[in-house]
């Protein structure tokens, strides 16, 4: 009789389905398959995909590699928001750079060249953090113990901000970083 009573037809599974309902199911199914196909298509032919390369690491190992990178590539020192010194590291053209997320800063400041492709190694030394590059708006989760190798090719010069968009404690909203593209 109705949805709060047992089906009036005892053999409800033998009742035919109306044409309108079939049509709707078919539309929904085809739409779903198109969306499914698009995700795969975009992986093969799309110009912007998330890098698929990651390694297990430890905060100590990653910090050591990043410090080595900073020591070898620092070109100048800049002042941070609270007056602290932050090294600016110029990533070798087409080479690898390291970016540390930690409470509550991004380290170091990276300097890139327009049109070059870089491999930026990204990891956290403590909690989860969120790499959010503004104003282009690219968002990547940063997880301690995992080293994510993000391939990027800057297409426009300028100063980009890195905002942390994963809650990481009391200083979360003040966790800002920078990338320069020359």
């Amino acid at each position: 009789m109705s949805a709060i009573l047992p089906p009036s037809e005892r053999l409800w599974w033998k009742q035919p389905i109306d044409k309108v309902e079939w049509a709707w199911i078919a539309i929904a199914f085809v739409w779903g398959m198109i969306m499914f196909g698009m995700m795969i298509y975009w992986h093969i032919y799309g110009k912007q995909n998330l890098s698929n390369e990651a390694y297990k690491t430890t905060p100590e190992m990653f910090a050591a590699k990043a410090e080595k990178f900073v020591a070898e590539n620092t070109i100048r020192i800049e002042k941070g928001l609270n007056g602290e010194d932050i090294p600016v590291a110029k990533v070798p053209a087409g080479g690898a750079g390291y970016l540390i997320a930690r409470l509550w800063a991004w380290y170091p400041i990276l300097e890139l060249e327009k049109g070059q492709t870089y491999r930026i190694h990204l990891s956290s030394l403590d909690y989860n953090h969120g790499f959010s590059l503004q104003p282009v708006n690219i968002n990547i989760q940063v997880i301690p113990g995992y080293e994510h190798v993000v391939k990027m090719t800057p297409t426009k010069e300028g100063t980009y901000a890195i905002v942390c968009n994963e809650y990481c404690g009391i200083g979360h909203h003040s966790m800002l970083g920078r990338i320069y593209v020359k």
């Binding site: 009789m1 109705s2 949805a3 709060i4 009573l5 047992p6 089906p7 009036s8 037809e9 005892r10 409800w12 009742q15 389905i17 109306d18 309902e21 709707w24 199911i25 929904a28 199914f29 739409w31 779903g32 398959m33 969306m35 499914f36 698009m38 995700m39 975009w42 992986h43 799309g46 912007q48 995909n49 998330l50 698929n52 990651a54 990204l122 403590d126 909690y127 989860n128 969120g130 959010s132 708006n137 690219i138 968002n139 990547i140 989760q141 940063v142 997880i143 113990g145 995992y146 080293e147 994510h148 968009n165 994963e166 809650y167 990481c168 404690g169 009391i170 200083g171 979360h172 909203h173």
Partner: protein, 435 residues
């Protein structure tokens, strides 16, 4: 224990004494958590509003954690227990299996909920709803949630038991009513959701008291979302059942096809939990293949299920209205619907906004490449408030207008009640645009 029944003179529904009391207590406890969650929501908004900026950072994060836990877990789980008891005992005209265990479950949930809130308001557990490790909350934050989960698991077990009792005592003929079938899918999803929660929160609890040294941060995220996302899928199955219930009670609507609607519920069980993966789309630890397969809900079969319900519920209402003679034009059935009745208007707004705002925004968010533009941005609270608030909460509030006169034997004046279902929607519009 003697079983006593009462037949409600207004609705004709038959209530068993113990089940009715459990429904009342669970629903009232749920609404009290909704009140706490609503107050914290107000504080969150007044802080995010740049002109006011009410709270300093530490208090804001504390309040936001409480808001997430009290709304997403406590309000909804308590109310869903009431829905489960209604869909089993009342609709099947059957006594509740083991009411004592149902009460044990209720009190475990009460104690657990209060314990977690104490942990949050003590200030050492501002870890958000997600509580990603290695950020650590106080031990009783985790223990409280575990108790709530165990309590809810007992409630679902009583629901399953009641279905068995009804079958054995032949209190109904043929198959389960569709609404009970929908509640059954919600209960099945709840079971594996709670098991996923136990799988991660119990080790995390041991970690918080020092018995386990470390929990892998990526593994935590993966298993935790088996709880965090799937628990919202319980809501979907539950509020879709409530839609069918409302259509049946207000219009006497008959499902267009029992087969199609039940099959759609079945798709929820099989595929909804894969959607947990759409929280991990920009994580380093999973491959692109894994992400594509899972976040498409395995080729969007669960999305298809919601598309079907979004068609068959208004379709059933239309068919019922046309039988009553509202056959002019395409939309007379809708224009002449009882919009002054909050049970209907709340349910219909829930249906439209869950489908168009919540559902579509969620499917968009679940595409790997688009997710990179939206992960952890304000788009995300915009999406889940249109699912959980204008979808689930509004459907539950609407059905409350049906149940209050029945359960509490009070008259409500529909005119007086009318502004309320619109309230969360207005709040929601503020929220969607502000976030």
């Amino acid at each position: 224990m003697a079983t006593t029944y009462r037949t409600c003179p207004v609705s004709g529904l038959q209530f068993e004494d113990q089940a009715e009391k459990l429904m009342r207590w669970n629903a009232v406890a749920g609404v009290l958590w909704l009140l706490v969650g609503g107050i914290t929501a107000l504080l969150v908004i007044l802080t995010r509003w740049p002109a006011i900026k009410l709270l300093p950072a530490d208090q804001f994060y504390l309040i936001l954690t409480a808001h997430g836990i009290d709304m997403l877990i406590l309000w909804i789980l308590f109310f869903e227990m009431a829905v489960l008891y209604f869909a089993s005992s009342t609709l099947l005209r059957c006594r509740l299996a083991t009411p004592k265990i149902a009460w044990l479950g209720f009190w475990l949930m009460v104690v657990g909920g209060i314990m977690t809130n104490i942990a949050i308001f003590q200030g050492e557990s501002s870890v958000m709803f997600t509580s990603y490790v290695p950020m650590q909350a106080a031990w009783h934050f985790y223990l409280g949630i575990i108790l709530v989960a165990v309590g809810a698991l007992l409630g679902t077990a009583v629901f399953f038991g009641t279905l068995v009792v009804a079958k054995r005592d032949r209190t109904y003929q043929g198959s389960l009513p569709l609404v009970t079938f929908g509640a059954l899918t919600a209960a099945i999803i709840a079971t594996f959701t709670i098991l996923a929660g136990a799988g991660i929160l119990i080790p995390t609890f041991f970690w918080s008291i020092g018995l386990i040294k470390e929990i892998d941060a990526q593994l935590y995220r993966m298993v935790w979302w088996g709880l965090g996302h799937s628990s919202q899928q319980i809501n979907v199955a539950a509020h879709v059942s409530v839609w069918y219930l409302t259509a049946a009670v207000i219009f006497g609507a008959k499902p267009l096809s029992e087969k199609v609607s039940r099959f759609a519920f079945l798709l929820y069980i099989l595929f909804l939990q894969l959607a947990s993966a759409h929280h991990l789309l920009s994580d380093p630890g999973m491959s692109a293949e894994w992400k594509v397969l899972n976040t498409s809900y395995f080729m969007y079969f669960a999305v298809m299920a919601s598309m079907i319900h979004g068609f068959t519920v208004p379709g059933a209402i239309e068919a019922a209205q046309r039988r009553k003679g509202y056959t002019n034009g395409l939309f007379e059935w809708l224009r002449k619907a009882p919009w002054g009745n909050p049970v209907f208007s709340g349910m219909f707004i829930s249906l439209v906004s869950f489908g168009f705002l919540g559902g579509i925004s969620g499917v968009v968010l679940g595409t790997e490449q688009i997710n990179m533009l939206m992960h952890n941005t304000f788009y995300v609270p915009g999406h889940f408030h249109t699912t959980v608030v204008t979808g689930t909460t509004l459907a539950f509030m609407a059905i409350t207008y049906l149940l209050v006169p029945v359960l509490f034997r009070r008259e409500t004046d529909p005119a007086e009640a009318l502004p309320d279902p619109a309230l969360p929607v207005r709040h929601q519009h503020v929220r969607s645009s502000a976030w």
